[in-house]
């Protein structure tokens, strides 16, 4: 449609003079603000505050459709399952023997980040589309305390019942293992790239050696990083006071301020360490051992101050519809032969009794590897992080967040 220029001018003049009434600026603004107010009402309801997000078995009931649907969605961390090319041998074996088809996602890179992604749904008793999620102890404890996960039926998991290692059977946050089953345990220590630096044996060195300035990364996991700061402070990470916490926080603040620390990272420290942008860092044991296959210069050491010991736990979130299928998978991975196959690939501490013997068949060189099958001496110097209630946890998270972003 074309308009002759003369006519257009005429129309514009007429419109300006008010001859043709379209949508005027003034009346539009008036209408818009009234309707904005009308739609804004639900938004303004937020003005009354937000209720507690705690759920209970009564307030949030889940339905199990496992009998009808032989399916399962499993969310895990990257590089945390055995692989052969594109295949995942143990997972495929599970699918063949059980007839349950598994959708395996590696969408967990950081506990806090994942929590941020699902907290609104779980807090409101909505499904998150996953039947198993894998969370580190402290986050698993938080989710159990919030009532966001389903109770498991130990009777359906005879292998877990029989083979779960005794030291993992009753964590304080889930004394009967009614809500969680460990996937793997692991250690946090120091890794360095021998191509660019000599050995780094302690956190003291990592944080103060001048040749490492600006080439060190720490983990953005509060529990891991603060555990070492507390150790440097001379405190017991499993039982520390408010004062010691402040001291440890101030210590970290000093290291950040001195420019020693280049980045705080999630699982992605691997890239920087490989490229030599970071020459030494706080690192997870299994990751580093897996890296060594590709890059022998990468070394992992037990810091003089001690180690951080943690477990990652499988949980079934509320509203997940395949709890029985999830239990079948958990049980499957507690067969010693399967557990040994998994451990041989991921190189983390195996939570399954009998797997060490089964490892003889899988890879005899790993039977005595203390990072997969640690003995008591090795773990004498390993610490967990003190259990915190929700509001303290939130306060500490906030303190930590403030310090790592100068």
């Amino acid at each position: 449609m074309t308009v002759h220029p003369d006519r257009l001018d005429e129309l514009v003049r007429a419109a300006r003079a008010g001859g043709v009434r379209g949508v005027g600026r003034r009346s539009f603004l008036r209408g818009a603000s009234v309707s904005a107010l009308a739609v804004g009402v639900p938004g303004l309801l937020a003005a009354c505050g937000t209720e507690s997000q705690v759920q209970t078995a009564e307030s949030c009931t889940s339905e199990d459709r496992s009998a009808a649907e032989k399916a399962l969605v499993f969310s895990n961390w990257p590089e945390y399952i055995d692989r052969k090319g594109k295949k995942m041998p143990t997972l495929e074996e599970f699918q063949t023997t059980s007839g349950i088809s598994v959708t395996y996602n590696t969408d967990i890179n950081d506990n806090t980040e994942f929590f941020g992604k699902v907290k609104d749904q779980l807090g409101g008793c909505e499904p998150i589309g996953r039947d198993i999620i894998t969370m580190t102890d402290w986050m698993a404890a938080r989710m159990v305390a919030l009532g966001w996960v389903q109770e498991l039926d130990m009777g359906a998991m005879p292998h877990v019942e029989a083979n779960l290692k005794s030291d993992l059977r009753s964590p304080t946050w889930d004394p009967d293992r009614s809500y969680s089953v460990p996937w793997q345990s692991g250690l946090t220590g120091i890794a360095y790239n021998a191509k660019y630096t000599g050995e780094v044996g302690s956190f003291e060195e990592l944080m103060t050696r001048s040749d490492l300035k600006g080439k060190v990364s720490l983990l953005s996991e509060m529990g891991d990083t603060m555990l070492f700061m507390l150790l440097l402070e001379g405190a017991d990470p499993e039982d520390f006071t408010e004062e010691q916490w402040s001291g440890a926080l101030g210590r970290l603040e000093g290291y950040v301020g001195s420019g020693q620390i280049r980045r705080f990272t999630g699982n992605d420290y691997i890239r920087d360490l490989n490229a030599g942008n970071v020459v030494a860092c706080e690192a997870w044991s299994g990751d580093v051992i897996a890296m060594q296959y590709d890059n022998p210069d990468i070394k992992w050491v037990v810091p003089e101050e001690g180690l951080s010991l943690w477990s990652d736990n499988m949980l079934v979130p509320n509203k997940a519809e395949h709890k029985a299928n999830a239990e079948a998978l958990m049980d499957f991975y507690y067969q010693p032969e399967i557990a040994a196959q998994l451990a041989a690939w991921v190189n983390y501490i195996c939570p399954v009794e009998g797997a060490q013997e089964a490892m003889e068949q899988v890879d005899p060189s790993l039977v005595d590897n203390p990072l997969i099958f640690p003995d008591e001496d090795f773990l004498a110097n390993a610490y967990g992080f003190m259990e915190l209630d929700e509001s303290t946890r939130q306060q500490y998270d906030k303190d930590f967040a403030r310090v790592i972003g100068a």
């Binding site: 449609m1 074309t2 308009v3 002759h4 006519r7 129309l11 043709v20 009434r21 379209g22 949508v23 005027g24 539009f28 209408g31 818009a32 309707s35 904005a36 739609v39 804004g40 938004g43 303004l44 937020a46 003005a47 009354c48 505050g49 937000t50 209720e51 507690s52 997000q53 705690v54 806090t112 980040e113 929590f115 941020g116 907290k119 305390a145 919030l146 660019y196 600006g214 080439k215 950040v256 420019g259 620390i261 280049r262 980045r263 705080f264 920087d272 490229a275 030599g276 942008n277 929700e390 509001s391 939130q394 998270d397 906030k398 930590f400 967040a401 403030r402 790592i404 972003g405 100068a406």
Partner: protein, 299 residues
């Protein structure tokens, strides 16, 4: 075909009483956009403002009580003013760099590219075929401590023995500039391309030097594009957190990083207060800028 503008088209449904004069159809046409804006802008903004006034001692377990705690704004500014200022400094520097790089490029495409014009435009947009994250990650490689660029700069003594580019403010601003450059080039090109060459010829006929012609003809006519380009570059860079996350260090964190971390840590009130402050600061800056550049009608 001028008819339909004055009277309703014969095939159209019978006009409502008052017809065009009531202006009802105008409002109906605005309806989809209005609903969109209400649902995805007005409601979230109202919620955000409300959340910023919650009691800061709330938690997921206890819930968050509305206490009209205005103090949240003062507290968040006290803790995070450096990051807020830094965001505007980085965004401003990146915008300036985009103008310096983008103007000659847009000018060349509009006036000098000849038959290469379309190809060059495609080249400007081509990076968008890969994801924002991948493009930013590739800068980690380009600026890496042991890669060619840094080795070269060390060899020619621009960088010290131990100097690096990655994890510095330079890397963050470079990332921002690179990622938002097309948003500067495209509006500039659109403005420049419309300029009638005869104006420049007329200027030359009237004895203006090429520089004077540029200053008094080309530049004023390119202003709408320049203003649009700076806004499209400055506003998203000020709120960006990916570049600082991937290319920066703890001393280069921007306000977006802090907001993201605070939300994850469950401190909704502080995170919301900081978001509202950022939004208000941007609106204020843009308002002053648009007023001063005298282009309200053009943007």
């Amino acid at each position: 075909m001028a008819g339909p503008l004055r009277t309703a088209e014969p095939s159209a449904p019978p006009p409502a009483p008052g017809g065009r004069r009531g202006g009802l159809s105008g409002y109906l046409l605005l309806l989809p956009g209005g609903v969109w804006l209400a649902l995805f802008f007005v409601v979230p903004t109202a919620t955000l403002v409300a959340t910023s006034l919650y009691d800061p001692s709330g938690s997921l377990q206890l819930g968050y009580r509305m206490t009209g705690h205005v103090q949240n704004y003062a507290d968040s500014l006290q803790d995070y003013a450096p990051q807020l200022v830094r965001s505007f400094v980085y965004a401003g520097t990146a915008t300036l760099a985009c103008v310096v790089l983008g103007f000659p490029l847009a000018y060349a495409i509009a006036f000098k590219a000849g038959r290469w014009k379309n190809l060059m435009l495609v080249a400007v947009i081509a990076p968008f075929f890969t994801s924002f994250l991948v493009r930013t990650l590739s800068w980690q490689y380009i600026l890496g401590d042991n890669e060619a660029l840094v080795s070269f700069l060390r060899a020619v003594r621009v960088l010290g023995e131990d100097g690096h580019l990655l994890a510095t403010p330079f890397a963050v601003v470079t990332g921002l500039t690179y990622n938002f450059l097309p948003f500067m080039v495209l509006p500039l090109y659109a403005s420049l391309e419309k300029i009638d060459h005869r104006f420049l010829e007329a200027a030359a006929d009237l004895y203006s030097s090429p520089f004077t012609a540029f200053r008094t003809v080309t530049l004023p006519l390119a202003m709408p594009g320049l203003v649009a380009g700076t806004l499209l570059t400055f506003i998203p860079s000020a709120g960006d957190y990916i570049n600082s996350e991937l290319l920066g260090n703890p001393q280069t964190r921007m306000v977006g990083n802090e907001i993201q971390d605070l939300f994850a840590a469950g401190d909704y009130p502080t995170a919301s207060a900081l978001s509202v402050t950022l939004m208000a600061a941007i609106v204020l800056l843009v308002f002053v800028y648009v007023r001063r550049s005298g282009t309200e009608e053009l943007v």
